[in-house]
Symmetry: C2
Protein backbone atom coordinates (compact mmCIF):
# COMPACT_ATOMS: atom_id res chain seq x y z
CA UNK A 1 0.00 0.00 0.00
CA UNK A 2 1.66 3.21 -1.19
CA UNK A 3 0.62 6.15 0.95
CA UNK A 4 1.42 9.67 -0.25
CA UNK A 5 1.34 12.53 2.26
CA UNK A 6 1.10 15.97 0.73
CA UNK A 7 3.25 18.56 2.49
CA UNK A 8 3.04 22.29 1.87
CA UNK A 9 4.20 25.39 3.73
CA UNK A 10 2.12 25.92 6.91
CA UNK A 11 0.72 22.39 7.03
CA UNK A 12 -0.23 21.21 10.54
CA UNK A 13 2.37 18.71 11.71
CA UNK A 14 0.05 16.52 13.79
CA UNK A 15 -2.38 16.17 10.86
CA UNK A 16 0.39 14.37 9.01
CA UNK A 17 2.23 12.54 11.76
CA UNK A 18 -0.85 11.25 13.63
CA UNK A 19 -2.12 9.69 10.42
CA UNK A 20 1.32 8.53 9.33
CA UNK A 21 2.17 6.78 12.60
CA UNK A 22 -0.96 4.65 12.32
CA UNK A 23 -0.74 3.79 8.63
CA UNK A 24 3.02 3.15 8.71
CA UNK A 25 2.48 0.48 11.36
CA UNK A 26 0.28 -1.59 9.03
CA UNK A 27 2.03 -4.41 7.16
CA UNK A 28 3.12 -3.64 3.61
CA UNK A 29 2.84 0.15 3.86
CA UNK A 30 5.23 2.33 1.88
CA UNK A 31 5.12 6.03 2.74
CA UNK A 32 6.16 8.97 0.67
CA UNK A 33 6.11 12.63 1.69
CA UNK A 34 5.44 14.78 -1.34
CA UNK A 35 5.88 18.53 -1.73
CA UNK A 36 6.46 21.10 -4.45
CA UNK A 37 10.14 20.26 -4.03
CA UNK A 38 11.87 17.52 -2.05
CA UNK A 39 13.46 18.77 1.16
CA UNK A 40 12.37 20.31 4.44
CA UNK A 41 8.84 21.78 4.62
CA UNK A 42 8.00 24.00 7.59
CA UNK A 43 4.72 23.67 9.46
CA UNK A 44 2.20 26.31 10.55
CA UNK A 45 4.02 27.02 13.81
CA UNK A 46 7.13 27.88 11.81
CA UNK A 47 9.15 25.59 14.07
CA UNK A 48 8.69 22.00 12.92
CA UNK A 49 10.05 20.85 9.55
CA UNK A 50 9.28 17.49 7.98
CA UNK A 51 11.36 16.15 5.14
CA UNK A 52 9.60 15.75 1.78
CA UNK A 53 11.09 12.73 0.03
CA UNK A 54 9.58 13.41 -3.41
CA UNK A 55 8.42 16.31 -5.52
CA UNK A 56 4.95 16.57 -7.04
CA UNK A 57 6.35 15.59 -10.43
CA UNK A 58 7.76 12.35 -9.00
CA UNK A 59 4.40 11.02 -7.85
CA UNK A 60 1.57 10.39 -10.30
CA UNK A 61 -0.38 7.76 -8.36
CA UNK A 62 -0.94 6.42 -4.85
CA UNK A 63 -3.05 3.78 -3.17
CA UNK A 64 -3.79 6.24 -0.38
CA UNK A 65 -3.49 10.02 -0.58
CA UNK A 66 -3.43 12.04 2.65
CA UNK A 67 -3.93 15.81 2.58
CA UNK A 68 -3.30 17.59 5.90
CA UNK A 69 -4.81 20.86 7.03
CA UNK A 70 -3.20 24.14 7.93
CA UNK A 71 -3.90 26.97 10.33
CA UNK A 72 -5.23 28.75 7.27
CA UNK A 73 -6.42 27.08 4.07
CA UNK A 74 -8.50 29.91 2.68
CA UNK A 75 -6.59 29.91 -0.62
CA UNK A 76 -5.52 26.40 -1.54
CA UNK A 77 -2.38 26.53 -3.70
CA UNK A 78 -3.51 25.91 -7.32
CA UNK A 79 -0.42 23.81 -8.10
CA UNK A 80 -1.24 21.43 -5.26
CA UNK A 81 -4.91 21.35 -6.21
CA UNK A 82 -3.99 20.42 -9.76
CA UNK A 83 -1.73 17.61 -8.48
CA UNK A 84 -4.58 16.29 -6.33
CA UNK A 85 -6.82 16.32 -9.44
CA UNK A 86 -4.32 14.02 -11.14
CA UNK A 87 -3.59 11.66 -8.25
CA UNK A 88 -7.06 11.35 -6.69
CA UNK A 89 -8.50 9.30 -9.60
CA UNK A 90 -5.66 6.77 -9.12
CA UNK A 91 -6.26 6.16 -5.41
CA UNK A 92 -8.15 3.46 -3.59
CA UNK A 93 -8.66 5.89 -0.71
CA UNK A 94 -8.27 9.65 -0.47
CA UNK A 95 -8.04 11.18 3.00
CA UNK A 96 -7.92 14.63 4.48
CA UNK A 97 -7.34 15.83 8.03
CA UNK A 98 -8.83 19.08 9.30
CA UNK A 99 -8.87 21.82 6.71
CA UNK A 100 -7.21 19.50 4.19
CA UNK A 101 -10.78 18.96 3.04
CA UNK A 102 -10.67 22.45 1.52
CA UNK A 103 -7.98 21.14 -0.83
CA UNK A 104 -10.10 18.10 -1.71
CA UNK A 105 -13.09 20.36 -2.35
CA UNK A 106 -11.04 22.64 -4.62
CA UNK A 107 -9.89 19.56 -6.56
CA UNK A 108 -13.49 18.43 -7.10
CA UNK A 109 -13.15 15.38 -4.88
CA UNK A 110 -16.02 16.44 -2.62
CA UNK A 111 -18.62 17.45 -5.21
CA UNK A 112 -22.04 16.77 -3.72
CA UNK A 113 -20.48 15.14 -0.68
CA UNK A 114 -20.68 15.52 3.08
CA UNK A 115 -17.31 16.07 4.74
CA UNK A 116 -15.55 16.93 7.98
CA UNK A 117 -13.03 19.68 8.63
CA UNK A 118 -11.60 21.57 11.58
CA UNK A 119 -14.68 22.86 13.42
CA UNK A 120 -13.56 26.49 13.13
CA UNK A 121 -13.47 26.19 9.32
CA UNK A 122 -16.88 24.61 8.77
CA UNK A 123 -18.19 27.69 6.97
CA UNK A 124 -15.40 27.47 4.42
CA UNK A 125 -16.63 24.05 3.29
CA UNK A 126 -20.22 25.24 3.18
CA UNK A 127 -19.16 28.22 1.06
CA UNK A 128 -17.90 25.90 -1.67
CA UNK A 129 -21.03 23.72 -1.69
CA UNK A 130 -19.87 20.87 0.53
CA UNK A 131 -22.13 19.77 3.40
CA UNK A 132 -20.24 20.03 6.69
CA UNK A 133 -20.54 17.24 9.25
CA UNK A 134 -19.25 17.52 12.81
CA UNK A 135 -18.61 13.77 12.92
CA UNK A 136 -15.04 12.82 13.80
CA UNK A 137 -14.56 10.84 10.57
CA UNK A 138 -16.84 11.04 7.53
CA UNK A 139 -16.88 8.63 4.60
CA UNK A 140 -18.12 9.62 1.14
CA UNK A 141 -17.31 6.71 -1.15
CA UNK A 142 -13.54 6.36 -1.26
CA UNK A 143 -13.01 9.75 0.40
CA UNK A 144 -12.53 9.90 4.16
CA UNK A 145 -12.35 13.29 5.84
CA UNK A 146 -11.81 14.05 9.50
CA UNK A 147 -12.03 16.77 12.11
CA UNK A 148 -8.93 18.73 13.08
CA UNK A 149 -5.37 17.71 13.94
CA UNK A 150 -5.68 14.90 16.50
CA UNK A 151 -8.55 13.35 14.49
CA UNK A 152 -6.03 12.03 11.97
CA UNK A 153 -5.34 9.16 14.37
CA UNK A 154 -9.02 8.16 14.43
CA UNK A 155 -9.19 8.64 10.66
CA UNK A 156 -6.23 6.37 9.99
CA UNK A 157 -7.52 3.64 12.31
CA UNK A 158 -10.87 3.82 10.53
CA UNK A 159 -9.11 3.39 7.19
CA UNK A 160 -7.10 0.41 8.45
CA UNK A 161 -10.32 -1.24 9.58
CA UNK A 162 -11.68 -0.81 6.05
CA UNK A 163 -8.51 -1.71 4.15
CA UNK A 164 -6.94 -4.37 6.39
CA UNK A 165 -9.74 -5.42 8.76
CA UNK A 166 -10.37 -4.79 12.46
CA UNK A 167 -7.62 -7.09 13.77
CA UNK A 168 -4.88 -5.09 12.03
CA UNK A 169 -6.44 -1.80 13.17
CA UNK A 170 -6.58 -3.05 16.75
CA UNK A 171 -3.00 -4.31 16.59
CA UNK A 172 -1.82 -0.89 15.48
CA UNK A 173 -3.95 0.81 18.14
CA UNK A 174 -2.29 -1.29 20.84
CA UNK A 175 1.16 -0.72 19.32
CA UNK A 176 0.63 3.03 19.61
CA UNK A 177 -1.01 2.61 23.01
CA UNK A 178 -3.90 4.69 21.73
CA UNK A 179 -6.06 4.65 24.84
CA UNK A 180 -6.69 8.39 25.03
CA UNK A 181 -7.33 9.97 28.40
CA UNK A 182 -7.46 13.74 27.93
CA UNK A 183 -7.07 15.49 31.28
CA UNK A 184 -9.85 17.91 30.26
CA UNK A 185 -13.04 17.52 28.25
CA UNK A 186 -12.85 20.54 25.99
CA UNK A 187 -12.07 19.00 22.61
CA UNK A 188 -15.15 20.18 20.72
CA UNK A 189 -17.10 23.44 20.68
CA UNK A 190 -20.04 21.67 22.33
CA UNK A 191 -17.89 20.56 25.25
CA UNK A 192 -15.51 23.48 25.80
CA UNK A 193 -16.48 26.44 28.00
CA UNK A 194 -18.22 29.04 25.78
CA UNK A 195 -15.60 31.75 26.37
CA UNK A 196 -12.84 29.41 25.23
CA UNK A 197 -14.79 28.50 22.10
CA UNK A 198 -15.16 32.20 21.28
CA UNK A 199 -11.46 32.79 21.81
CA UNK A 200 -10.42 30.01 19.43
CA UNK A 201 -12.98 31.07 16.82
CA UNK A 202 -11.63 34.62 16.88
CA UNK A 203 -8.08 33.32 16.52
CA UNK A 204 -8.93 31.38 13.39
CA UNK A 205 -11.00 34.20 11.94
CA UNK A 206 -7.98 36.49 12.26
CA UNK A 207 -5.63 33.94 10.68
CA UNK A 208 -7.80 33.67 7.59
CA UNK A 209 -8.49 37.23 6.61
CA UNK B 1 8.94 28.85 27.79
CA UNK B 2 11.80 27.22 25.90
CA UNK B 3 10.96 23.62 25.04
CA UNK B 4 13.74 21.34 23.80
CA UNK B 5 12.79 18.12 21.98
CA UNK B 6 15.55 15.56 21.81
CA UNK B 7 15.75 13.75 18.46
CA UNK B 8 17.86 10.68 17.81
CA UNK B 9 17.90 7.99 15.12
CA UNK B 10 14.85 5.69 15.41
CA UNK B 11 12.83 8.06 17.60
CA UNK B 12 9.05 7.60 17.31
CA UNK B 13 7.64 10.53 15.34
CA UNK B 14 4.28 10.76 17.12
CA UNK B 15 6.02 10.87 20.53
CA UNK B 16 7.56 14.15 19.44
CA UNK B 17 4.87 15.70 17.26
CA UNK B 18 1.90 14.88 19.51
CA UNK B 19 3.62 16.61 22.40
CA UNK B 20 4.98 19.43 20.23
CA UNK B 21 1.63 20.30 18.66
CA UNK B 22 0.10 20.85 22.11
CA UNK B 23 2.98 22.77 23.70
CA UNK B 24 3.62 24.93 20.62
CA UNK B 25 0.03 26.18 20.79
CA UNK B 26 0.55 27.68 24.24
CA UNK B 27 1.39 31.37 24.34
CA UNK B 28 5.06 32.24 24.65
CA UNK B 29 6.43 28.84 23.68
CA UNK B 30 9.72 28.61 21.81
CA UNK B 31 10.56 25.15 20.47
CA UNK B 32 13.92 23.72 19.54
CA UNK B 33 14.60 20.28 18.09
CA UNK B 34 17.98 19.04 19.29
CA UNK B 35 20.05 16.15 17.96
CA UNK B 36 23.67 15.03 17.84
CA UNK B 37 23.93 17.22 14.75
CA UNK B 38 21.50 19.73 13.25
CA UNK B 39 19.70 18.41 10.16
CA UNK B 40 17.26 15.65 9.30
CA UNK B 41 16.81 12.81 11.81
CA UNK B 42 15.00 9.68 10.65
CA UNK B 43 12.37 7.98 12.80
CA UNK B 44 11.91 4.31 13.71
CA UNK B 45 9.91 3.53 10.58
CA UNK B 46 12.82 4.76 8.47
CA UNK B 47 10.42 6.92 6.50
CA UNK B 48 9.74 10.12 8.42
CA UNK B 49 12.48 12.67 9.00
CA UNK B 50 12.18 15.65 11.31
CA UNK B 51 14.59 18.54 11.09
CA UNK B 52 16.84 19.11 14.12
CA UNK B 53 17.41 22.84 14.46
CA UNK B 54 20.26 22.63 16.97
CA UNK B 55 23.02 20.27 18.01
CA UNK B 56 23.53 19.01 21.55
CA UNK B 57 26.39 21.45 22.04
CA UNK B 58 24.13 24.39 21.20
CA UNK B 59 21.66 23.73 24.00
CA UNK B 60 22.74 23.76 27.64
CA UNK B 61 19.40 24.55 29.27
CA UNK B 62 15.65 24.43 28.69
CA UNK B 63 12.52 25.27 30.59
CA UNK B 64 10.98 22.01 29.35
CA UNK B 65 12.87 18.99 28.07
CA UNK B 66 10.97 16.34 26.07
CA UNK B 67 12.54 12.95 25.42
CA UNK B 68 10.64 10.72 22.96
CA UNK B 69 10.71 6.94 22.83
CA UNK B 70 11.77 4.58 20.10
CA UNK B 71 10.75 1.16 18.87
CA UNK B 72 13.84 -0.03 20.75
CA UNK B 73 15.52 1.81 23.59
CA UNK B 74 17.40 -1.08 25.12
CA UNK B 75 20.73 0.73 24.86
CA UNK B 76 20.28 4.46 25.37
CA UNK B 77 23.01 6.35 23.53
CA UNK B 78 25.57 7.45 26.20
CA UNK B 79 26.14 10.80 24.48
CA UNK B 80 22.45 11.65 24.71
CA UNK B 81 22.25 10.41 28.28
CA UNK B 82 25.17 12.65 29.24
CA UNK B 83 23.44 15.63 27.60
CA UNK B 84 20.24 14.88 29.55
CA UNK B 85 22.34 14.80 32.75
CA UNK B 86 23.47 18.35 31.98
CA UNK B 87 20.14 19.82 30.85
CA UNK B 88 17.74 18.11 33.28
CA UNK B 89 18.97 20.07 36.33
CA UNK B 90 18.22 23.33 34.43
CA UNK B 91 14.60 22.49 33.58
CA UNK B 92 11.38 23.44 35.25
CA UNK B 93 9.82 20.30 33.79
CA UNK B 94 11.35 17.20 32.23
CA UNK B 95 9.08 14.97 30.14
CA UNK B 96 9.35 11.63 28.41
CA UNK B 97 6.97 9.84 26.08
CA UNK B 98 6.90 6.04 25.88
CA UNK B 99 10.33 4.45 26.16
CA UNK B 100 11.90 7.88 26.45
CA UNK B 101 11.69 7.14 30.18
CA UNK B 102 14.57 4.68 29.69
CA UNK B 103 16.72 7.67 28.75
CA UNK B 104 15.60 9.58 31.82
CA UNK B 105 16.34 6.54 33.99
CA UNK B 106 19.82 6.18 32.50
CA UNK B 107 20.46 9.86 33.23
CA UNK B 108 19.49 9.42 36.88
CA UNK B 109 16.32 11.51 36.56
CA UNK B 110 14.08 8.68 37.78
CA UNK B 111 16.07 7.46 40.80
CA UNK B 112 13.58 6.09 43.33
CA UNK B 113 10.66 7.27 41.18
CA UNK B 114 7.54 5.74 39.69
CA UNK B 115 7.24 6.26 35.93
CA UNK B 116 5.29 5.33 32.82
CA UNK B 117 6.61 3.90 29.58
CA UNK B 118 5.27 2.04 26.56
CA UNK B 119 3.43 -0.94 28.07
CA UNK B 120 5.57 -3.45 26.15
CA UNK B 121 8.74 -2.04 27.74
CA UNK B 122 7.62 -2.01 31.37
CA UNK B 123 10.15 -4.68 32.34
CA UNK B 124 12.99 -2.52 31.05
CA UNK B 125 12.14 0.18 33.59
CA UNK B 126 11.80 -2.35 36.37
CA UNK B 127 15.21 -3.79 35.48
CA UNK B 128 16.88 -0.47 36.21
CA UNK B 129 15.12 0.02 39.54
CA UNK B 130 12.27 2.32 38.46
CA UNK B 131 8.74 1.42 39.55
CA UNK B 132 6.51 1.05 36.49
CA UNK B 133 3.01 2.53 36.49
CA UNK B 134 0.43 1.79 33.82
CA UNK B 135 -1.13 5.22 34.34
CA UNK B 136 -1.35 7.33 31.18
CA UNK B 137 0.69 10.17 32.70
CA UNK B 138 2.78 9.91 35.87
CA UNK B 139 4.25 12.80 37.83
CA UNK B 140 7.32 12.46 40.04
CA UNK B 141 8.25 15.96 41.17
CA UNK B 142 9.20 17.93 38.07
CA UNK B 143 9.38 14.80 35.91
CA UNK B 144 6.32 13.76 33.90
CA UNK B 145 6.41 10.44 32.04
CA UNK B 146 3.73 8.96 29.82
CA UNK B 147 2.62 5.78 28.12
CA UNK B 148 3.46 5.18 24.47
CA UNK B 149 3.24 7.34 21.35
CA UNK B 150 -0.27 8.83 21.39
CA UNK B 151 0.02 9.49 25.15
CA UNK B 152 2.27 12.46 24.43
CA UNK B 153 -0.86 14.49 23.70
CA UNK B 154 -2.33 13.72 27.13
CA UNK B 155 1.08 14.35 28.70
CA UNK B 156 1.46 17.77 27.09
CA UNK B 157 -2.07 18.85 28.04
CA UNK B 158 -1.35 17.75 31.61
CA UNK B 159 1.80 19.88 31.60
CA UNK B 160 -0.04 22.92 30.25
CA UNK B 161 -2.59 22.56 33.03
CA UNK B 162 0.27 22.67 35.55
CA UNK B 163 2.35 25.38 33.88
CA UNK B 164 -0.33 27.66 32.38
CA UNK B 165 -3.55 26.62 34.12
CA UNK B 166 -6.64 24.73 32.94
CA UNK B 167 -8.01 27.50 30.69
CA UNK B 168 -4.93 27.50 28.47
CA UNK B 169 -4.87 23.69 28.36
CA UNK B 170 -8.55 23.62 27.37
CA UNK B 171 -7.99 26.31 24.72
CA UNK B 172 -5.24 24.24 23.16
CA UNK B 173 -7.36 21.08 23.38
CA UNK B 174 -10.14 22.80 21.45
CA UNK B 175 -7.67 24.27 18.95
CA UNK B 176 -6.43 20.75 18.17
CA UNK B 177 -9.99 19.41 18.29
CA UNK B 178 -8.75 16.75 20.70
CA UNK B 179 -12.00 14.93 21.29
CA UNK B 180 -10.70 11.41 20.64
CA UNK B 181 -13.09 8.80 19.32
CA UNK B 182 -11.08 5.67 18.51
CA UNK B 183 -13.10 3.35 16.26
CA UNK B 184 -11.90 0.39 18.37
CA UNK B 185 -11.20 -0.07 22.06
CA UNK B 186 -7.89 -1.89 21.94
CA UNK B 187 -5.47 0.76 23.14
CA UNK B 188 -4.13 -1.02 26.21
CA UNK B 189 -3.18 -4.65 26.96
CA UNK B 190 -6.15 -4.90 29.33
CA UNK B 191 -8.59 -3.89 26.58
CA UNK B 192 -7.15 -5.50 23.44
CA UNK B 193 -8.00 -9.09 22.50
CA UNK B 194 -5.44 -11.40 24.14
CA UNK B 195 -4.06 -12.74 20.86
CA UNK B 196 -3.38 -9.20 19.65
CA UNK B 197 -1.58 -8.36 22.90
CA UNK B 198 0.61 -11.43 22.45
CA UNK B 199 1.39 -10.47 18.88
CA UNK B 200 2.51 -6.96 19.78
CA UNK B 201 4.55 -8.20 22.77
CA UNK B 202 6.39 -10.66 20.51
CA UNK B 203 7.07 -7.91 18.00
CA UNK B 204 8.71 -5.69 20.59
CA UNK B 205 10.65 -8.57 22.14
CA UNK B 206 12.15 -9.30 18.73
CA UNK B 207 13.01 -5.64 18.10
CA UNK B 208 15.02 -5.43 21.31
CA UNK B 209 17.20 -8.53 21.27
Amino acid sequence: MKVAYLLYPRFTALDVVGTFQVLAAAPGTRSVFVAARAGAVVDDTGLCALQATASLGDIAFADVLVVPGSDCSCDPDPTLVEWIRVVHPTTTWTLSVGTGSSYLAAAGALDGATAATHWASAQRLTDVGVTYSDERVVRAGKVLTSAGASAGIDLALTLLGLSHGPAVAQTVQLTLEYDPQPPYDAGSPAKAPADIGGLVSSYYAQRCT
